[in-house]
């Protein structure tokens, strides 16, 4: 097979490709105006939104800032909507519409299931040794959070209260054997098990006391647990 075609660099230079057969030569033609390519707005905004979400997520994971990632997503959805309207002359912008639909689905699920993405991702175990070590709040976005309170003596504290939440995953609380506890647990969707009682499904609420039936009075050293998961499981148990 013979290759009589000129090299690519020669084909790209018509004025040097030989004598012209037409009435006008390439040299006589007016210089072609450089075609301005339209700004790839969809790609730019898509990249900007993804970078912004990633930066905020990273800062939150590094504990530089502390707020729910889901508080940012409605803002991103509004930005997508504004850009779609502003750029309506330049085309359909399907990638932006797809991004908007994805954000809508995430936000719908999060709002429906009360998911709060706050406090990092992964498996975490908190094991405070004394009352002073106990934090009032424990948060995890996605993963498994275990809070072992079995070494803490709550009887000396007037109103001990612990709030813990997991966005998506499992929350496990271990309380001291002899402690008096009121646990209020909520799951957007999933299973709640508190001192042997169990509920599952959507929008699950379960309140349980231990020991069962004790009189709840203010200032008596009763440990109050406020627990929630958006999607997942809560378990509260004593040794």
């Amino acid at each position: 097979m013979s290759d009589e075609r000129p090299p690519d660099d020669e084909r790209d230079r018509p004025e040097e490709a030989g004598p012209s057969v037409g009435p006008t030569t390439a040299a006589e033609l007016p210089p072609a105006e450089p075609t301005r390519r339209p700004l790839p707005l969809s790609r730019l905004i898509l990249g900007l939104v993804l970078v912004a979400i990633g930066v905020i997520w990273l800062l939150e994971a590094l504990d530089v800032v502390s707020f729910s990632l889901l508080a940012v997503l409605p803002g991103a959805l509004i930005v997508v909507g504004i850009v779609l309207i502003a750029a309506a002359r330049t085309g359909r912008h399907s990638p932006l519409i797809i991004l908007g639909v994805i954000l809508t689905v995430i936000l719908t699920l999060a709002s429906s299931l009360d998911i709060r993405l706050q406090g990092g991702v992964g498996e975490r175990t908190e094991r405070p040794a004394t009352l002073a070590d106990v934090q009032s709040e424990y948060r995890l976005s996605v993963g498994q959070l275990t809070i072992d309170l079995t070494s803490v003596d709550f009887s000396t504290s007037p109103n001990p209260r612990v709030t813990a939440s997991v966005g998506i995953g499992q929350l496990e609380i271990r309380v001291p054997k002899d402690a008096r506890v009121v646990a209020v647990a909520h799951a957007g969707a999933g299973q709640v098990m508190v001192f042997g009682r169990e509920e599952s499904g959507f929008d699950v609420d379960l309140t349980a006391r231990r020991p069962p039936g004790f009189e709840l009075q203010a200032g008596t050293g009763v440990l109050r647990l406020d627990l929630s998961v958006g999607l997942g499981q809560i378990e509260v148990r004593a040794p």
Binding site: S68, L70, A71, L73, P74, G75, A76, L77, I78, V80, G81, I82, V83, L84, I85, A87, A88, R89, T90, G91, R92, H93, I97, G100, L103, T104, L107, T108, L109, S111, S112
Partner: protein, 63 residues
């Protein structure tokens, strides 16, 4: 479509996203309490109405 003409679909989707974004923001700020049973039907209604209106307009233009 003329280059200077607005793309109707982009405007409709943009409006939908802005309205939903504001609603979700209010929900995150605990001003509203949105539930899927309220959101999903509204989204379906809006999308369906968009199809109906755009279909009717296209039909009228083709006549």
């Amino acid at each position: 479509m003329n280059d200077r003409e607005f793309h109707r679909g982009s405007i409709v989707w943009g409006l939908i996203f802005i309205v939903l974004g504001v609603l979700f923001l209010l929900d995150q700020l605990d001003v509203l309490d949105l539930k899927a049973v309220y959101i999903l039907p509204v989204v379906l209604i809006v999308i369906g109405a968009t199809f109906l209106v755009s279909g009717a307009i296209s039909h009228r233009r083709s006549d």
